[in-house]
Amino acid sequence: MAIRLQNLTKKFGGQGAVDTVSFQVKQGELVGLLGPSGGGKSTILRMIAGLERPTGGDIFLNGQSVNNLPPQDRGVGMVFQHYALFKHMTVAENIAFGLEVRKSPKAAMKERVRELLALVGLEGLDNRYPHQLSGGQRQRVALARSLAPRPGILLLDEPFGAVDAKIRRELREWLRKLHDEMHMTSIFVTHDQEEALEVADRIVIINQGRVEQVGTPKEIYDHPETEFVANFVGPVNVLAAEVVEGKAQAGPLKIKAPGFQNGDRVNLVIRPGDVVLESAEEWEYGTGEVKRLVFLGDMVKADIETDSGHCLTAHLSRSNPDFDRLQAGDRVNIKVDMGRIFPRVLESGMDGWGI
């Protein structure tokens, strides 16, 4: 089922939670709503499910407006953040609930429950109660329960929020596989950018009730349209800069700034992975000193202070010859070709190793 939101708005007691949100989800797509907590992501999800009534705007499922359709009639499945399993029912009874409501024949119901238990890898746990299961198992039961009536749309609210890190990674991969096998349209809410990048076909960045950007993980990461997106998705250096001769300049760093006037005050946003350090002898770029090195397994994080007094962080991958060689106190050549430029809204542009 395809989903289209048009100027969707929700106010709680005069306070705006969701503000004219519009985006589309194609049939079969897996879309992640990403943004900070309290930004309105869950409210959007709950409006699609029919649990909240929009203050304004429209929701279309397969081209039909569902604004006045109760949740029962929307053909939507939902997995709640805290699972919301029926405590007084067994695993099998939980999964069968949606079928029982639809008055499925007993035999078909049993068969479907068995099928779903196998799908989520919980065979043999039919008669357990939710409190006898681990967090990951409860999550799977919640998923199986929501899938039982074969919904056209699956909504997941922070689906991995309440399980520990290792199980979370397993569940993510598993969810992606499941989605591909089931040919459903899915939307999940998360505040974890890594999760969104890994699982989603496309990401909708939501901040303070508004859509900041919609795009594939690569588009979002490489071409953030706002400083917020750049900051929220992936690590960044933010340097206060000024446009001089068509280039944003911060100390020795110069990045082309098309669309800006000379003299504009801007923020220069640079991914640590785009900072190239060279211990070469020719000082054609800006120079600086390595202040601190942090070993992070697959990479080394280097905090650099340029001779002009700017602070920035560089990431060195294992394949970089300097990975093992670099030492705190070393002088380095700093080369940056990639960076994004945003108008500086707040005068107190962050400038430092805030990563």
């Binding site: 499910a49 029919g50 649990l51 109760p70 949740p71 029962q72 939507v76 499945g77 939902m78 709640f80 805290h82 919301a84 399993l85 029926f86 405590k87 007084h88 609930f97 949606g98 409501v101 639809r102 109660y129 939710p130 409190h131 006898q132 329960r145 929501s146 039982a148 009536p149």
Partner: protein
């Protein structure tokens, strides 16, 4: 930590001694005295007193009132709790305060309020009188009085559980296709069942033992509007101590049974909320 010193052991046993003494003097001895009194002249005498026609009438009247009040409170208490916890409406805060009122008002005053309202000259009493319906000095008034003093039990217990279980399970049921009615029977009611049962048990206990409010509205007419507690008082006033002890012992036995089931329910309740 070091092993408990000699002094702290003494202190501990002194404390335990005081607790036991307290319980003995204020609870165990009176109860023991009552049972001793009830069975002082043997089981046949006990039985004879218990089956006095006015005692039988009073006890059955108490049971009738208790049954009606419990059913009404269970139904309306649950509905009220759901309204107060789940729905926001103007005056909800006021209602929440009023729910506690019967705890604060003396039962005797509650009885008088009912007489003022439903009595022969009362605002509503005049109206009911015209239809030939007697409220005060009759069963309806006694039920109203008992309803008044027992109102908070079910509402409070069910409200607490409702708040604890939250709305996510109900929402999940709705999305899975269940209508409001099915969601209530299949999800909400099983969720609150132990709280509801606890509230019902408290209501039963209080209804059986209510004296003041019912005394005032009933007029205490023997064989007509006298309840078990009033019969106990009446028998005692008439120097029939054995009679009052016998009925009192019966009520006490029922209370113990209720207390015991209350403990069982509490354990179930705790187990249910632990099995989170």
């Amino acid at each position: 930590m070091a092993t408990p010193s000699y002094q702290s052991k003494t202190a501990k046993f002194t404390m335990i001694g005081i607790v036991f003494l307290y319980f003995t003097v204020f609870i165990i001895l009176p109860i023991g005295g009552m049972f001793a009194g009830a069975f002082a002249k043997g089981l046949p005498a006990f039985w004879r007193e218990l089956t006095r026609p006015e005692a039988v009438h009073a006890i059955s009247l108490t049971f009738i009132i208790t049954a009606i009040v419990t059913v009404l409170n269970a139904v309306f208490g649950t509905v009220l709790a759901i309204l107060l916890v789940r729905h926001h409406f103007p005056g909800a805060a006021l209602l929440k305060g009023i729910v506690d009122l019967p705890f604060a008002v003396s039962p005797v005053i509650a009885g008088f309020m009912l007489i003022l309202l439903y009595g022969p000259k009362g605002l509503l009493g005049v109206f009911f009188d015209a239809w030939g319906i007697k409220i005060v000095y009759a069963l309806p008034g006694m039920i109203l009085a008992t309803l008044f003093v027992t109102l908070p039990f079910v509402v409070k217990e069910v409200s607490l559980v409702l708040q604890e279980i939250g709305t996510e399970q109900e929402q999940a049921a709705t999305i899975l296709g269940a209508g409001p009615w099915r969601t209530f029977w299949r999800i909400t009611l099983p969720g609150i069942r132990w709280g509801l049962l606890y509230g019902i048990t408290l209501t039963v206990a209080r209804s059986l033992g209510e004296f003041g409010a019912v005394l005032v509205v009933s007029g205490n007419i023997i064989n007509r509007t006298q309840t078990a507690t009033m019969d106990i008082y009446q028998a005692y006033s008439d120097y029939n101590e054995l009679g009052s002890y016998a009925v009192a012992a019966l009520l006490a036995i029922i209370s113990f049974a209720i207390l015991f089931s209350l403990e069982l329910i509490k354990k179930k309740k705790e187990a249910a909320s632990n099995g989170n």
